[in-house]
Symmetry: C2
DNA sequence: CTTTTAGGTCAATATTATTGACCTTTTATA
DNA sequence: TATAAAAGGTCAATAATATTGACCTAAAAG
């Protein structure tokens, strides 16, 4: 059992998690909405940008969605020429995904709002706080 | 413009945010799914529990969803007798929401998984890290 | 040569959300 | 007091996003 005062502190954490996550996704969401895109499109652009030549299967592992749920938004990004799709040379079943120059630009705009948000907050808090934040989040993510 | 090494550090933050949020909502989501409930039901239970006698309008402000999107899950919680709905004495247009004993128990189970997760992580990290985490999240939320 | 893997796509369905319209009850105000 | 505004509720149509199941090709692995 958790002590009641302690529980109140932890409930603050829960609420901050909820409100900050919402604030953090608002920037990209607004830009996406203007183009008729959704959060999954951003996630695809983000992870393909971070790791070029990512396979479709790897992307599915990261996003934890079904192949069919990925298919539509990925196809849209391909037909908008924001993402490219090339056959791997080592295994020709595999499609390696990369961002096109336009894809790189859109990803930079989307993620850019979040980078600015973070830079703005973290410059006030110091390197040590940032490390602590990451440690906590890493442990949560590894659950 | 943001320095490229700095950008990599901030992209780590973005990814940790994504992965930790997903891990953090998994516990309640699994319990909810067994009862045919969704994340909104948890949010209703959570915020009504935190602030008993919350009005429907106040709840809408917090959740930032439409009245119609709240209506169905709230009605379900009322008919399952997890939430109660009483006319305010000072303004009889207003319905004050409260958890029933069963609602309190379910909310405790749902939020309980998150409290345990947090307690487990934060006990390793110390009070100071916890304060830093909250500071950062508060600033993000207030954006 | 057969099986498995990677990828793709169609169809049916489910969930969750939206906007718009319309209703009652109650309070506030011109 | 008559009327406007606020709080709440609900129906309908639609949209977005997801699921599962089925089935297909191409290429690699056994």
């Amino acid at each position: 059992m958790i002590d009641s005062d302690r529980e109140q502190e932890l409930r603050e954490v829960i609420e901050l998690f909820f409100f900050s996550y919402r604030a953090f996704t608002r920037g990209p969401d607004e830009i996406l909405a203007k183009r008729g895109l959704g959060r999954v499109h951003h996630r695809i652009l983000y992870f393909v940008g971070r790791q070029p030549n990512l396979s479709v299967n790897d992307l599915l592992q990261v996003l934890q969605i079904s192949k069919q749920a990925l298919n539509t938004p990925l196809r849209q990004l391909l037909s908008m020429e924001l993402v490219r799709n090339e056959q791997s040379k080592t295994d020709r079943r595999v499609r390696e995904l990369r961002l096109t120059p336009a894809g790189i630009r859109l990803e930079a705009r989307l993620t850019g709002t979040q980078l600015l948000q973070l830079e703005d907050v973290l410059k006030d808090q110091g390197k040590k706080s940032e490390k602590s934040w990451k440690q906590i989040m890493r442990q949560l993510a590894d659950d």
